[in-house]
C-alpha cells in the first residue's frame, strides 16, 4: 500500500466522523496548548529575571559581611565571636586590585523623611559617587552625589521620583531641603523612573553620602560593597583579589561572602529552567490522558469497524496494512491536535503578553518541538494495542456479524 493511499484512507476515516475527530483534536490540542502556555510562562519568568540582573549592572561583584557558605547562618556563635564588620576602609582597599574598575560601599536603613508638614518613611541608601555607575541608574534631573572623600559628610541627597512627587507634588525639587531624622539635606538630583528592580523600588529611595548615612544610622559597618570588575573576563580575578584583600585586612579570616552576579544569574537561570521543565512535564501529563482517549476511541473503532476490517482482509490486506491504517489514523489525529494546540498555546501567550507586557513570555524552542512530538508518539504508542487487536481479527467472524 502506498503512503499516499494510506494517508488518504486515514483521511477519509478522520473526515467521515467529524464528532469523534473534533473530540480527539480537542483533547490533544488542550494538552499541547497547556505545555506551550505553561512553558511560555516559565521561560518568560526566566528571561525576566535574566534581564533584571542585566539592569543591575554588568560585571558586578557583591561583597557582604559574614560567611554563609561554610558554617551556616551564624558561624561566630559556635566559636564565641561574631563576624567582623565590613567597614569603609575594607571597601577602599579593594581599589588596589587591578581587576577592579570601581567600588561603591553601601549602607541601607529606613529614614523618616520630612518636608514641612509632609513626612514619609523611605529606605535611605548611603553610598558614594560611583554607585550610580555600578547600578546603571539614570538621573532625571540634577546630578548624583559628588566625587570626593567618602569620609566627608556633605548635606546633599538624591531622591526617587515617587519620593519627589509625594513630598513636593509638582513643585520644583532641585535645591530644596528635606529632613531625615534630625539632619537636613539639600536635593541635588532626582533619579529617573525605573521601577522595581529585584526587591528595591528605586523610585522610592533617598540616597545620601555614605558618611551621612553612617551618622544617621550610627553605624560604621557596611551592608554591602558593590564592586565592578574591569571586564567580564576579569570577574574571576577581581573576586579572588577581593577575597584575598579582605582576608589580609581581617587577620587571615575569611569572613565575607563574595557573590558574583554571574553565579547568581546562573543559579536563577538553572532554577527557572528546571522549573519550566517541571511545569512543562506536568502539563505533558494531559497529553498522556489524551493518548488514553485515543486508545479508547481506537478500541471502539475496532469494534465498530469489524466488518470493514474483515472486508479489507478478504480483499487481501495484510495484518501489517491493517495496523498501519490504524496507526496512520491516530498519528494524523495527533498531528492535527498538535497543530491546534500550538496555535492555541501561542494565542494564550499573546494574551499573557497583553496583560503583562513587562514579562517576555515565549515558549522555549524545545517545548515547541517536544509537545507535538510527545502528542504524536503518545498517540502512536496508545494505538499499538487497538491496531494489533484489529490486525488479529478473524476475517470469517468479522464478516459474519451484521
Amino acid at each position: 500500500m502506498r503512503l499516499s493511499d494510506l494517508l488518504n484512507f486515514a483521511w477519509q476515516v478522520v473526515r467521515g466522523s467529524p464528532g469523534r475527530t473534533f473530540l480527539i483534536l480537542l483533547a490533544m490540542g488542550i494538552g499541547v496548548a497547556a505545555v506551550v502556555a505553561v512553558t511560555s510562562l516559565g521561560e518568560g519568568a526566566r528571561l525576566y529575571v535574566v534581564n533584571q540582573f542585566g539592569s543591575l549592572g554588568t560585571n558586578l561583584i557583591i561583597v557582604l559581611p559574614g560567611r554563609s557558605e561554610t558554617a551556616g547562618a551564624m558561624p561566630g556563635v559556635l566559636v564565641g565571636k561574631t563576624p567582623r564588620d565590613l567597614v569603609l576602609e575594607d571597601a577602599l582597599a579593594l581599589k588596589r586590585s587591578h581587576a577592579v574598575r570601581r567600588i561603591a560601599p553601601l549602607i541601607v536603613g529606613a529614614g523618616d523623611v520630612r518636608v514641612g508638614a509632609r513626612r514619609r518613611e523611605t529606605p535611605v541608601l548611603g553610598s558614594t559617587a560611583d554607585f550610580i555607575e555600578i547600578r546603571r541608574m539614570e538621573l532625571a534631573q540634577g546630578r548624583f552625589l559628588p566625587e570626593g572623600d567618602p569620609r566627608q559628610s556633605l548635606p546633599v541627597c538624591v531622591i526617587g521620583t515617587r519620593v519627589a512627587a509625594e513630598l513636593f507634588g509638582t513643585r520644583q525639587v532641585l535645591g530644596e531641603w528635606l529632613r531625615i531624622g534630625d539632619r537636613r539635606f539639600r536635593i541635588i538630583g532626582v533619579l529617573a523612573k525605573q521601577g522595581e528592580s529585584l526587591g528595591f523600588n528605586t523610585d522610592e529611595i533617598v540616597i545620601v553620602p555614605l558618611a551621612a548615612a553612617q551618622a544617621l544610622f550610627n553605624t560604621e559597618s557596611l551592608f554591602r560593597v558593590l564592586v565592578e570588575a574591569k571586564s567580564r573576563e576579569q570577574i574571576r580575578y577581581a573576586k579572588e583579589d577581593v577575597e584575598e584583600i579582605i582576608r589580609l585586612r581581617h587577620e587571615g579570616e575569611r569572613d565575607v561572602t563574595v557573590i558574583t552576579q554571574d553565579a547568581v544569574l546562573a543559579t536563577f537561570d538553572r532554577i527557572l529552567r528546571a522549573l519550566t521543565l517541571a511545569v512543562g512535564g506536568i502539563a505533558a501529563i494531559s497529553l498522556a490522558v489524551a493518548g488514553i482517549l485515543i486508545m479508547n476511541v481506537m478500541l471502539i473503532a475496532v469494534t465498530q469497524r469489524r466488518r470493514e476490517i474483515g472486508l479489507l482482509k478478504a480483499l487481501g490486506a495484510t495484518s501489517r496494512q491493517i495496523r498501519l491504517a490504524f496507526l496512520t489514523e491516530a498519528v494524523l489525529l495527533a498531528m492535527g491536535g498538535a497543530g491546534v494546540g500550538l496555535v492555541v498555546g501561542q494565542l494564550a501567550r499573546n494574551v499573557a503578553l497583553q496583560l503583562y507586557p513587562a514579562i517576555p513570555f515565549q515558549a522555549p524552542w524545545w517545548a515547541l518541538l517536544a509537545a507535538p512530538a510527545t502528542a504524536v508518539i503518545t498517540a502512536a504508542l496508545f494505538t499499538v494495542v487497538p491496531a494489533r487487536r484489529a490486525a488479529r481479527l478473524d476475517p470469517v467472524q468479522a464478516l459474519s456479524r451484521r
Partner: protein, 224 residues
C-alpha cells in the same frame, strides 16, 4: 484449478467439536460456473471460506492454481486472496464512507498499484458494470442492485482466478436478484470461474454444475 482433498474443518464450541466439513474432495476447473446448495449449517459457507483462503482447513490438502496453499502463513494468504480471489457478499460489504469508485479501487490500493495504472482499470470496470454515472456516489446513495454491482466490480478489480459469491442475491428483491445474477453470469461468459453459495433453488439451478451439501459432506454433484 482448485483441488480439495480430504478437507476437514472442525470448530471447538465450548467443549464440543463441531465438524463443519467432513472430508470434502472437490476439483473445480477454470471457467466453471458452480453453485453450492444445502440447508443452513450444512457447511457450504465454511467451504466457501476455505476456498477463499479466509479460513484454514483443520486437515486435508488444498491446491489453488497447482500450488499447495494449506501451509501458507497469514501474509502469504492475504497476498493470495488479493491476487486470486474475488469475494461477493450477501450484505455487499462496501466501505460506507468511500464512494463507488473508491470501493472498486480498494483491492488495487491494497496491492500498492500506483494511481496512474489504477485509473484505466477503474474506468474500464466502471463502464463494464454500468456505474460511470454512479462513480462519485457513496453506498448509502446507491440502490441494492447498484451496491452489488459495485461489489462485483471490486471482486473483478485484480482479475481473480475465481469469484466466490456468498448468497449474492440474499439481500435483494427477486427482480434485482435476477439482474445481479446476469452480471455474475457475464463474468462467467467472459471466461471467469464463478462459485456461488445459495439456498435459493431458482438461483442455484442456473449454474452449470450444482453441488449439494448436507452435514459437512458433498452429497450431490450434478452437471448440465
Amino acid at each position: 484449478m482448485i483441488r480439495l482433498a480430504g478437507i476437514e474443518r472442525t470448530f471447538i464450541v465450548g467443549e464440543e467439536a463441531v465438524h463443519a466439513l467432513r472430508g470434502v474432495n472437490l476439483e473445480i476447473a477454470a471457467g466453471e460456473y458452480l453453485s453450492i446448495m444445502g440447508p443452513s449449517g450444512s457447511g457450504k459457507s465454511t467451504l466457501l471460506n476455505v476456498i477463499g483462503l479466509l479460513d484454514r482447513p483443520s486437515a486435508g490438502i488444498y491446491e489453488l492454481d497447482r500450488r499447495d496453499v494449506t501451509g501458507l502463513n497469514d501474509d502469504e494468504l492475504a497476498r493470495a486472496r488479493r491476487e486470486k480471489i474475488g469475494f461477493v457478499f450477501q450484505f455487499f460489504h462496501l466501505v460506507p464512507r468511500l464512494n463507488a469508485a473508491q470501493n472498486i479501487e480498494l483491492p488495487m490500493v491494497l496491492a500498492g498499484i500506483d494511481p496512474a495504472a489504477r485509473k484505466p482499470r477503474l474506468d474500464r470496470l466502471l463502464s463494464e458494470y454500468g456505474l460511470e454515472d454512479r462513480a462519485r456516489h457513496r453506498p448509502d446513495q446507491l440502490s441494492g442492485g447498484q451496491c452489488q454491482r459495485v461489489a462485483i466490480a471490486r471482486a473483478m478489480a485484480m482479475g481473480p482466478s475465481v469469484v466466490l459469491a456468498d448468497e449474492p442475491t440474499g439481500n435483494l428483491d427477486r427482480h434485482t436478484g435476477q439482474e445481479v445474477m446476469a452480471v455474475l453470469e457475464r463474468v462467467h461468459d467472459n471466461g471467469g470461474t464463478v462459485l456461488l453459495v445459495t439456498h435459493d433453488p431458482e438461483i442455484g439451478s442456473r449454474a452449470h454444475r450444482r453441488l449439494r451439501m448436507i452435514d459437512g459432506e458433498v452429497v450431490g454433484d450434478e452437471r448440465s
